[in-house]
Symmetry: C2
């Protein structure tokens, strides 16, 4: 027995070291992922008052970092500069050129009053922000409106139900052939 | 000696396992970083013909994915819609509101002919792409021009030296107080 016991201790020692180092492997391997997860923008707490009437659409977090699809200009009386951006699902769909847009697509149109550049007579630049308009594709949830939910926001808050009732009719009438989306990608 | 030899073997065994597992730790820990590095956009091979005269500025890869700083409009005769985007260094500098912009800042102005929307009388959308204009901050390399290198591209190729000679004078005269950058971030 006295000959076997040290042998057992050695084995336990080897096993313990191996397990400890394996645990270290797992932990260290996970660190970069855990850091990525911690740094990623989580789903923001959404107040119901921040969701659009009828559709329940909210302003998506981080949309200002999204890729530009196209700028635009709207004549008087709105007199605005605009820029439509999209999430990665939207960008991928535009690049593939396939319609309809897949569920999960989100488009955001930012808008500003047109303002004379103080440096150039010929240049017009963004003045005050006016509306943020959002389209969210969910073919089940929004089956009655071509798969799209709409949200129109002023100062971060949705406008009234009456205004939201006008979205679908116009998109349906004028952009049916492009899955009800007006914006084409800028070349 | 016959009693000591197996003891030595055990130790070598433990050492070997420990080293092997440590190597595994290091390798697995590095994998995510190596993958990130492999997936990151490397510096593209740049033909000298693609670099602007005087400054040697090229169109930065991936700029279409960069964050929007502001759209703009340019009246006739250019008659353009525009969008200025920036790399992360530029975006961080704008957000911090600190001037001058740090070395490594890159701004890209995309431009398109204004085009009547086929769906809306009041809407103007991007037509054909016209110029891509690039500003690169390198306070040593471009010390003679406020730290900025300029590139103006049509169809992916730089315009001539005469046109590039006009960049600095205008930026110097009209935008000195903002580190020679015209574009303000859209609110």
């Amino acid at each position: 027995m006295t000959l076997i016991e040290p042998e057992k201790n050695k084995r336990s020692y080897v096993t313990a070291i191996t397990l400890a180092v394996l645990l270290l492997v797992v932990l260290l391997t996970c660190v970069p992922y855990l850091v990525s997860i911690a740094l990623a923008e989580g789903p923001a707490q959404v107040d119901r008052a921040d969701a659009s009437p009828i559709f329940g659409v909210t302003i998506p977090p981080g949309y200002k970092q999204w890729e530009l699809i196209a700028p635009a200009e709207e004549a008087a009386p709105l007199d605005e500069l605009r820029a439509v951006v999209g999430n990665q699902t939207a960008i991928d769909a535009y690049q593939a050129g396939k319609l309809p847009f897949p569920d999960g697509t989100i488009l955001v149109k930012r808008a500003w009053k047109r303002k004379q550049s103080p440096e150039f007579a010929s240049a017009t630049i963004p003045g005050a922000a006016t509306t943020v308009q959002v389209m969210v594709k969910d073919s089940r949830k929004y089956a009655a409106t071509g798969g799209w939910g709409f949200g129109r926001f002023v100062g971060g808050k949705p406008v009234d139900e009456a205004q939201h009732r006008t979205c679908w009719g116009c998109h349906e009438a004028r952009a049916r052939s492009r899955d009800y989306v007006f914006t084409r990608p800028a070349p």
